[in-house]
């Protein structure tokens, strides 16, 4: 299997609606746990759950674990619906999977809280302390690193590892949280905001198997093409970048310790181990297709030339850049961090190239009466900053806290009052982050001299000012 498009994923038995690209890689599933759908009390009435989570990816499973472990929610009936198979990982595979995420310290805290982090560290993860950003058009770079090298900035973890770890935790929580695998949702029925006679006041979820369940609160964690969001008709601000990303695992010729990001074409290399790196290369649809079709050697050559090429640099910008740099070092001689040369790629992981289209999306509402959206269902970002999963985990932490308090106050879990609090808090955090990522992407997508100069100076200045860098790192770590 070389090319995995969405259609192929669906063909592999994974529901397109409920599974986001980033958390599933059909290649790396080792064992398929076939769990039969549980039979509901057939008394003519549907079983009523307190909370149903639709979508068992990284964010959905984390939500289920988090709710299951909360003391105030003990005794509540929680159900996780996942269209795919149960992902169990008895032994970490030798090859790395292509889809990885950068897990910030904030997300790591959440995962520790639900008990999944220790499983992840036992399986496989790579902490990194430094991040370098080059500009392809000028010889400038910016380095982010933590002063205190003990503290990691973040971890790179394969998405499959995260899901497997969370699944393992869910097994332990089986008294509180039920999970139904291979249960694809075909229909949602929404309640009226005000109680009406003979109308079901709960959200009704109809599965492909024909059974229905009802719930007081539906949490939609079903990915960027969320069925929950679409069925609710929530207006979504979205656009597709004219780009696709090609993801591959690289074998590097020398040991690397840092994460690298190169703009235009935007290359992001996330470190998996000392010599292996996961590459996310965002480029035009056409070039992405070409890259996918190259044989391995040519692909490696293409990457190397992208890393090392100087062709986009112009004289003017180079001169301006070095002038600026010398001025700055005259003012602040001690500032700036040592720079690392881009790596040279020796080879790529076998059968590891994947392509998927890129876009940005933000739902204008995260909540409705008895419904809340989390993760990619609510917001979808460009992978260049590795923040997508972190935003999702942030949603999980916030919503769990709010639901826990609501339960302790005896409130109806699906009531709008506290759901609005969740929406406000998360939108306030997510929107600036998404705007920043989008801005970065746009800034780096152009060759035009003024913009390049701007970003050259901007990068250099930012590199020299530690306080500013700390602010950026602090915001990204939340």
């Amino acid at each position: 299997m070389h090319k995995l498009t969405r259609a192929t994923l669906a063909f592999n038995g994974l529901g397109r609606c409920l599974v986001a690209d980033k958390h599933v890689s059909a290649l790396q599933i080792h064992s398929r746990g076939f769990v039969c759908a549980q039979h509901v009390d057939d008394l003519g009435k549907n079983e009523v759950y307190d909370i149903i989570i639709s979508g068992g990816g990284m964010v959905g499973s984390a939500m289920a674990c988090s709710l299951g472990m909360d003391r105030n929610l003990e005794g509540k009936k929680i159900l996780l619906l996942e269209a795919g198979n149960k992902k169990v990982m008895h032994k970490v595979p030798d090859t790395y999977s292509t889809r990885v995420s950068s897990i910030s310290p904030g997300s790591a805290t959440l995962l520790t809280g639900v008990g999944a982090w220790e499983h992840i560290t036992k399986m496989r993860c790579k902490p990194y302390k430094r991040m370098q950003v080059w500009d392809a058009c000028s010889d400038v770079l910016i380095t982010f690193d933590k002063e205190d090298m003990q503290d990691e900035m973040a971890h790179i973890v394969e998405n499959d590892v995260v899901v497997a770890a969370l699944t393992k935790q869910l097994d332990d929580l089986s008294d509180n949280v039920q999970v139904k695998y291979r249960s694809k949702v075909v229909k949602y029925s929404w309640p009226m905001p005000h109680q009406q006679a003979n109308a079901i006041p709960w959200v009704k979820v109809t599965l492909a198997s024909g059974e229905s369940v009802e719930t007081k609160l539906l949490i939609g964690a079903d990915g960027p093409n969320s069925m929950v969001r679409q069925e609710l008709g929530i207006p979504t601000v979205k656009w597709n970048y004219d780009q696709s990303a090609v993801v591959a695992v690289l074998h590097l010729s020398e040991s690397q310790k840092y994460l690298l990001t190169l703009p235009r074409p935007i290359l992001c290399a996330l470190q998996l181990s000392d010599t292996e790196s996961s590459l996310v290369w965002s480029t035009s649809h056409q070039q992405a297709q070409e890259l996918l079709e190259l044989d391995e050697e040519s692909f490696v050559d293409a990457i190397n030339s992208a890393f090392w090429s100087n062709e986009n640099q112009s004289e003017l910008i180079e001169t301006a850049g070095s002038l600026f740099r010398s001025t700055l070092s005259a003012i602040m001689p001690s500032a700036g961090s040592p720079r690392q040369l881009p790596p040279s790629v020796a080879g790529i992981g076998p059968k590891s190239r994947v392509k998927f289209p890129l876009g940005i999306g933000h739902a204008s509402e995260y909540i409705r009466h008895r419904v809340a959206l989390i993760g990619d269902a609510a917001h979808r970002v460009h992978p260049l900053a590795g923040q997508g999963a972190n935003l999702g985990f942030g949603d999980v932490a916030c919503l769990t806290r709010i639901l826990s308090q609501a339960a302790f106050d005896g409130k109806d879990l699906g009531a709008m009052q506290h759901l609005l609090e969740y929406e406000t808090e998360r939108q306030r955090h997510n929107l600036p982050m998404m705007a920043a990522i989008d801005l970065m992407k746009r800034l780096y997508s152009t060759n035009a001299a003024p913009v390049v100069l701007l970003r050259t100076f901007g990068l250099q200045a930012t590199n020299m000012v530690p306080a500013l860098k700390e602010q950026i790192m602090g915001f990204a770590s939340k």
Partner: protein
Amino acid sequence: TNNISCSVQRLVKGNFSRLPLGTKVCERLVRGFVGRQRSASSWTAVCTQRAVCKQRAVCKQRTQPTVTCHTSARSVDPDELRRFQSLAGKWWDDHGEFAALHALNDLRVPFIRDNLLNVHRTRVPGKPLGGLRILDVGCGGGLLTEPLGRLGANVLGIDPVGDSIGTAKLHSSIDPDLRDRVRYRACTLEELSAEREGGGREEQGAAQFHAVVASEVVEHLADLETFGLCCNHVLKPGGSLFITTINKTNLSYALGIVVAEQLLRIVPSGTHDWEKFISPVELERLLESNGFSVQSVRGMLYNPASGAWSWTDSTAINYALHAVKVRDDPDANQAEGHAEAAHS
């Protein structure tokens, strides 16, 4: 309303024969009261009536060890009943007439929950009020009854307005969680406490409550003395009484009636009668004379702009009060407490 006024009259006539002293005077006063709205002009009459009641209560306590509540149901005002009848269908609209009451749950549920948790140590995770029996007097559409039920308590909600009880029953019947724990009855507190007394011996011990909640109720009652007596009667010793109501001050007239009812329409016009407001001091005195010990009084403030309530230092307008039924015999009740602890 017809049924209610008939039953009121029946109780008035029927039960008077059982009162020990001062019946003739009371009878005349009572006949004058039934059907007449309490207003400023009858304030002196109310004072007299209350004095008589107190006298009677004192006499009762001397002659009979058990307190009887066979007084009339005149603490319920028929005009009030009519007013709430017309609003029965609107209870559960978050943004309707009762929006402020919905918002008040943010204060009163934690108030009740935390004070009960202080007293009753046994906790089941997820059900902080598990195993407790609570009576919600004047429950209306069940706005406060349902959250208490969700917290694990067995709640009985009573209200003289039949339509409100109907609304409440319908709303709670859909939720499987609440179906078993929350019950409603259309009756008054007096009827309930009379029944407890009259019911079979085997019901007596089991029928009493760990807590009584009367939220936004006392400002609608005509006879608070009786109310205090009946609360005391239905509570277990050491049980808690929670009251939220409005103070009787100039400020509460200005803000609670003029602004809230006429200007901002936070509550429907005519909901409150300033004469029926009672100050915390007065309420405390009334309760203490009925066998309660007031534990805490806290002021509450409504912000019409945000639609939210908050705790405040001043009790000038709204306040919440927590009182505990004094145990009669400390030694006997200590033993009872030990027994309870052993069983839980």
